[in-house]
Point group: C2
Chain length 451, copies 2
């Protein structure tokens, strides 16, 4: 956090403690709503409620609420009464209002929608029909579009009167049946004689997305073509909305965070339960159970080899390093594949190449680590065969682990399960099990030399 | 990949195989450069070289090269001769040219800079003095700024003549000593009488960053305030550059990918070595060595308890589950903290809270998993004391693991080491070691009951 914000935070906390509300109102009205939103995450829920109710300008309150992350606003919403929420929603662009409504308990949401002006509630209800992670679910319907036969002069006049539209930098052009036919920039308007029809200056090839396009795909398009906004069309290529780059940035950050959390078996929702360890534990436990089960199976396999182990107790000393290294390199390969799918850098067409590359990488690293650990085993227990067993097991386990690291996420992706969430427990458990089997298998093979 | 691109890719691959270069030239000239750049990642290096040399418009070639990710362009650059690179750099905005120059071997870069027009090479050399991950390192110097005493009419006239500037949507206003004093949007220009001086319509409070601001901080600012661009000023608040939102999106994606890779102990650079498993192995090995060492230490600790183990061989069956679960929950906590630092959601002021929350979460999950595994031990080996030992060890190991998961990345952050890269091997190794110590410690304590 930069110094300016730190000072603001300290001031606010002090004023809240003192109950100096008139001073707080003054401080809040002078601060940028985005800064206030940013500071909310460092405040207790109680402090948040006090502060939020002191924001006098409903537009500023709306801005703060829509700039909080989902979990932050869901939490805060439980603290605000229905009337205040309605008032704030009225100040918001429809797309932000829809996001807020989605966070409310169904009953409360319905009551609020009923209390709204007919025009607003119709628009919002319509937007609510789109799944929240599609272009339709995040688009704004307050965009600026003109007809192709209008002139540059008319366009400028329209711009001067436009209010309540999302940031204008592109002007979208439609035909008489609202089909999207072109786009032009504000600057282009200034470069032509005033009577030029838009049809003459617009670019005909517009990059657009459909209402049912996944939000991750939308973000990729905007990033690829360096767009500031992308128009949304329905099945009939009619212009129905607009997604601006600031929403795309939110999507990108949110998806990255989600993926990172999922890969570790944690949940983004956890942030919602800042102070509720029981709820957090309940979110994480299902995933851990997979590993608990896997751990027991691994232990059972070791138990099967208990006669071997009793005879050659030195074998136990290399169990952790074999399963550990397998888990690590497998995890690396899985991470590369999961992130590759998410960023579009890997798809099924090049999967074969990735698979064999990772396998070779695993084999090379296995040779190095196997040689090191084999020498350690030799030096420690003075038994060359133990060194051989440990070395061979290490190479095999690491090679298998990398291929499994590619195979598991690809399999889950193929059958339509999010690879970010499914790969990690599966890869770890599978690697433990194969690691133990390979290790004791090799040991049993060389058993007569190990004594 | 969407269908349109898939078809384009198939066509291109077929034409390259056939050597149908005239057709390829036609296809390339009709495709969006961003699409071509996107498809490059699915092509072999040899195909890339052929294709790149067939792009006839140097501006399109420049666009393709700057839209490739760093690794892609570094790879491609090795295939292009100096003259072509010079020609392409001339077509690029300075900020993109600087990125390309940074990717070249030093000697080649110097030769190219020397061959450039004096004006270009001076500008680029100046930009190269900023570290690549700061605002100065990613900013563009071709921005649009006007003086405060100019009028709206003059501004519009200047806009009509402006060429070669980054997308214009904000107009920055400076005083007579180039200090940044205000900002206004293009639309605001259209709303006032033509003779109004900019001073009267501009907003005085401009959010700006300094040349030495970290690029991650720049991205956070742009995201927080929903900006389309942010001006860059030097120490004396003089306007020296501009960072547009498309560059910010690249930064956000790149940092997220980097973090994800680092957390798994892999490297973003790996992508550069698509087909060079030896190079990839060399990148990953240093990190694995930490774990190799940790695994040996864990094994050594088990060896210290070999007498106990020989007496109660059943103890081995729960080693994998205890160390495995510790590693998992510790990794979850570490992930949450590392990502929290990266997104600014966690900082040192709330670390204490996070630490105790994670510890409590670990304890609760430990109770559940400990009870399950204790019952498994009882049912399997018919020894209630074994169940007790396993259960107690599980609760302790999981609680310690979560606290370590918070402590390790915080420690690394504090001493200035990137927590994303340092936490994972450290947390895993430390958890293995403490897990074994806790497990055998508890077992030794109850040893007389375990027979």
């Amino acid at each position: 956090m930069d110094q300016k914000l730190q000072i603001l935070l300290d001031t606010i906390k002090k004023l809240v403690r003192r109950g100096a509300y008139p001073n707080l109102i003054k401080v809040l009205s002078k601060s940028h709503p985005a800064d206030i939103a940013h500071l909310f995450r460092y405040l207790e829920l109680k402090e948040q409620r006090i502060l939020f109710n002191l924001i006098e300008d409903p537009a500023a309150a709306a801005y703060v609420l829509s700039e909080l992350d989902h979990n932050g606003s869901a939490q805060l919403l439980t603290q605000i009464d229905k009337e205040t929420i309605s008032e704030i929603l009225h100040e918001m662009p429809y797309d932000d209002a829809v996001e807020i409504i989605r966070l409310l308990p169904e009953e409360k949401a319905e009551e609020i929608l009923e209390g709204m002006q007919a025009e607003d509630s119709e628009e919002i209800t319509q937007l609510l029909t789109y799944p929240h992670d599609t272009a339709g679910g995040i688009m704004s319907t307050e965009f600026f579009a003109l007809r192709e036969e209008q002139t540059a002069r008319e366009a400028i006049a329209a711009l001067q009167q436009a209010e309540d539209v999302e940031m204008v930098f592109y002007i979208y052009v439609t035909d008489d049946r609202r089909h999207l036919v072109g786009v032009l920039s504000l600057r282009q308007l200034l470069l032509v004689p005033p009577e030029t029809p838009l049809k003459k200056i617009m670019t005909g090839e517009v990059i657009s997305v459909r209402t049912d396009t996944d939000q991750e795909e939308v973000a990729q398009q905007v990033a690829r073509y360096n767009l500031l906004a992308v128009p949304v069309v329905d099945n009939g290529n009619r212009l129905v909305g607009l997604i601006t780059v600031d929403d795309v940035i939110d999507v990108l950050r949110q998806e990255a965070t989600e993926d990172i959390y999922k890969m570790a078996g944690a949940h983004e929702e956890e942030l919602l339960y800042g102070d509720k360890p029981f709820k957090i534990a309940r979110l994480r436990l299902p995933w851990l159970v997979t590993n608990l089960f896997g751990g027991v199976v691994t232990g059972y396999l070791m138990w099967l080899f208990k006669a071997t182990l009793k005879e050659v107790i030195a074998l136990i000393t290399f169990i952790p390093v074999i399963t550990g290294m397998g888990g690590n390199v497998g995890g690396q390969s899985a991470t590369i594949v999961v992130r590759g799918f998410a960023t579009g850098r890997i798809d099924f067409s090049i999967l074969r190449k990735v698979f064999f590359r990772e396998m070779r990488v695993g084999f090379i690293m296995g040779i190095v680590c196997g040689a090191v650990i084999g020498l350690v085993a030799l030096a420690w227990h003075h038994n060359p065969y133990l060194g051989l067993v440990v070395g061979i097991a290490m190479v095999t386990a690491m090679t298998v682990a990398t291929s499994m690291g590619v195979a598991a996420p690809s399999f889950f992706k193929k059958i339509g399960i999010d690879p970010a969430i499914a790969s990690s427990p599966f890869v770890q458990t599978a690697n433990d099990i194969t690691g133990i089997l390979i290790y004791f298998g090799t040991a049993t093979f060389f058993l007569q030399h190990l004594h």
